[in-house]
Symmetry: C3
Subunit: 315 residues, 3 copies
């Protein structure tokens, strides 16, 4: 498991922030030599019974097949940028996450307010992810099953029951959200380059209208001495028209690590753009504890910089 405690500046005030989480990892091997297993945190336990949190896998010479709340194919190969701050500071609006189009969220769609403060979402259910490495080449493919999977209360990932354990039928318009993605990468020495393509249709939780969006992304990762650098260029097309660039780096000096990222996105339809960045440092105290802090900001008018400083534990 893991824990953390410290203070967070939310742009207006300093607040305490702490948490503790317990993790379980399980694995086994079949008589034929296939490996299988999964992992789940205690706080994900309810949604994990439906495959909208946590995941299971089976792997062998063919690669690894995972199902559940898996990341999309490009994220499986390229990951995100260095996480800034002990709480990741995503409350700044942006974050260290790279804005992949698919997966990584359990697939909530068609959210409907069912009262003040409560909304119900449909969920596209567990996603499937394949990853494989063949010499210098890595490949990944992912997809959702594109079907609504019962209404959930958004934050809980748990089916809402009407009466005695019957999943509710919300009177939301029917939509079929289908997601799929493929990605490939080539590694030579300390350098990796790769490309990903993602497609999503029917993702209407924001606009309320059906739309088709695809996204192509190019990524490069390099290790230069103590420093790791990652850069990604992407474009969202079809019903969207967004250009997006991001670069991040981290350096290790003994017990100290510093890192950061800067990202830029331009919506050519809306004629708007936004830049956001994060910068952080951590010091390893040994035994699984570290001090970590960071600052993040964006040029969105009306938003303020956020910062945090705290202790992280790994059990």
């Amino acid at each position: 498991g893991d824990g953390r405690m410290g203070v967070v500046y939310n742009g207006d005030d300093w607040n305490f922030s702490s948490r503790i989480r317990v993790s379980f990892t399980a694995s086994g091997t079949t008589d034929g030599g296939l490996e299988f297993g999964g992992s789940v945190r205690a706080d994900q336990a309810i949604a994990a019974t439906r495959g909208t949190s946590a995941s299971v896998y089976i792997s062998g010479a063919f690669g690894k097949l995972s199902m559940g709340d898996v990341v999309g194919a490009p994220e499986a190969l390229f990951g995100d940028f260095y996480e800034v701050g002990y709480t990741d500071l995503s409350s700044a609006g942006g974050s260290n996450d790279i804005g992949y189009l698919t997966a990584d969220n359990g697939g909530n769609v068609d959210c409907t307010s069912v009262g003040p403060g409560i909304s119900a979402c449909a969920n596209s259910g567990p996603n499937l992810l394949y990853t494989g490495t063949f010499g210098a080449f890595s490949v990944a493919a992912s997809m959702s099953d594109g079907k609504l999977n019962g209404a959930t209360i958004g934050g809980l990932g748990v089916p809402v029951a009407v009466g005695n354990s019957t999943v509710a039928t919300l009177t939301t318009e029917t939509s079929v959200t289908q997601e799929y993605a493929i990605a490939g990468a080539y590694t030579f020495g300390n350098y990796t380059v790769g490309m990903g393509y993602e497609y999503s249709n029917g993702r209407n939780q924001l606009s309320g209208t059906d739309m088709d969006v695809d996204m192509i992304s190019l990524a490069g990762v390099g290790q230069f001495g103590n420093t790791s650098v990652k850069a990604v260029i992407a474009h969202r097309g079809q019903d969207a028209d967004v250009d997006w660039y991001g670069i991040g780096a981290s350096s290790v000096f003994g017990a100290t690590t510093v890192g950061g990222y800067i990202q830029y996105a331009e919506d050519n339809n809306a004629n708007t753009d936004v830049t956001w960045y994060g910068l952080g440092a951590e010091y390893d105290l040994g035994g699984g504890a570290s001090i970590k802090g960071g600052i993040a900001d964006s040029d969105v008018s009306g938003s303020d910089a956020v910062a945090d400083l705290g202790v992280k534990f790994s059990f």
Copy 2:
């Protein structure tokens, strides 16, 4: 714990379905030699603090006394039929469950809709189950305490708080749901025969009206070489008038197991009847993994056959 991943045909489309669950089992022995313990899954943790999921027990020469989300007395002795498919395919309408009248559900009663997609239920709370074996005879008795135990959000089994941790008082009509059941079985060689009687009053979550229902069931189980056969005949009486028959079997051939069931119920008041069946097979991969699939269907007009195929893990 356990996990599973695969595909399910819901009568209309194929969907991904996966899950992972973590289980905890605890036990101890008193100085006087009584054994005690319990088991709970992480996803049941909240409801388990109220006894509406999971259970605890104390056992000794007198037998075993369990409290919580226990099965009723007949189910404790006769069980259900062979589980078909890697997801049990209960979405077909019917399932491998034998339609016992009492217990086995935490006792949700008097469910009331509190908004689209959300309902609140009262819950009869933890049930009590006694089982004992004396030579060739097995006996079981179970009961609910028959009192409403606070409103819950149906799917969560968790009390809903108004204000600061106070359980809500829903303006549902007061009802007193009382359940009790007794069962006995006699085993000779590879054969077991038994009988159960169950009684429930006030179970009005479906009709909205108070009703008394009792159920008498006769069960026979036999082991013939590699094949196990189970048959149950039952009648629901008092305010209900339902005849019900079911038979199931499973056979083991090395690493392969095949099994199935067919059930028939006739409602003499409504003058309707329904037949449903399931058929499945599994292949043990060793190490705790198996491939399992099945098909289930009913003769309800407008319903389609459902099927699944997937991998099951046991950790």
Copy 3:
């Protein structure tokens, strides 16, 4: 973990009551010799990711710093009275808890009904607690960060999402609830005396109006042979005017422990007073099991005595 099963008399009827809970404790040591860790139960797992249940700590020669759902400073030093019954019988209205003003509840504030049976609360988030012992002196200090921390469904301690994982903004009036508390104790031989001061402003979940309340408490604890006695005198002032007295004791005779408490509170503004008491006994069965029962009552008109008798398990 722990479990329990038995029967509870709620003033009107006897009901079954059982539960099982799983606990996780984690700890580590930094290279510099600081200790860190935390504990969480499976049923707290969701709220523990936000610091409104469970807690983490770091400790060293300076004392111990805890964050999360911690108790306030006086409770950290003086605790509560002997717990009566196997379920603690808090349903009697009163309980063995000493009525400290701050912390110990995750800080739910500004609760708003969002439908029948469901309310949403803001939460002051994780609290901070410092405790230290220097020779015969013990000191403690605690505080909340006084900021609203997103709306929650009261009983769940989990943020309610609108759409895809965004925390809802309830249209509740803004309030700033700030809590802080300090306490000190002096121990000589078998006796401890101490004093605490607590302050809370904006705690309006009951009255709907902002109010300032402070509380001063004097506590004495003594061990006389097999018997431990604790007495507390307190006064709530500023916008409140409440006098409060309580005394409790427990005695150990071999495997048997008996204990109880009596408390009295007088609201000088409302010109009302209430007396409540509890009396219980337990017998250790060995191996982590005990039989425990108790009775509790108050002189509130219309309320009845409650009682319970059951078995407790410790795993």
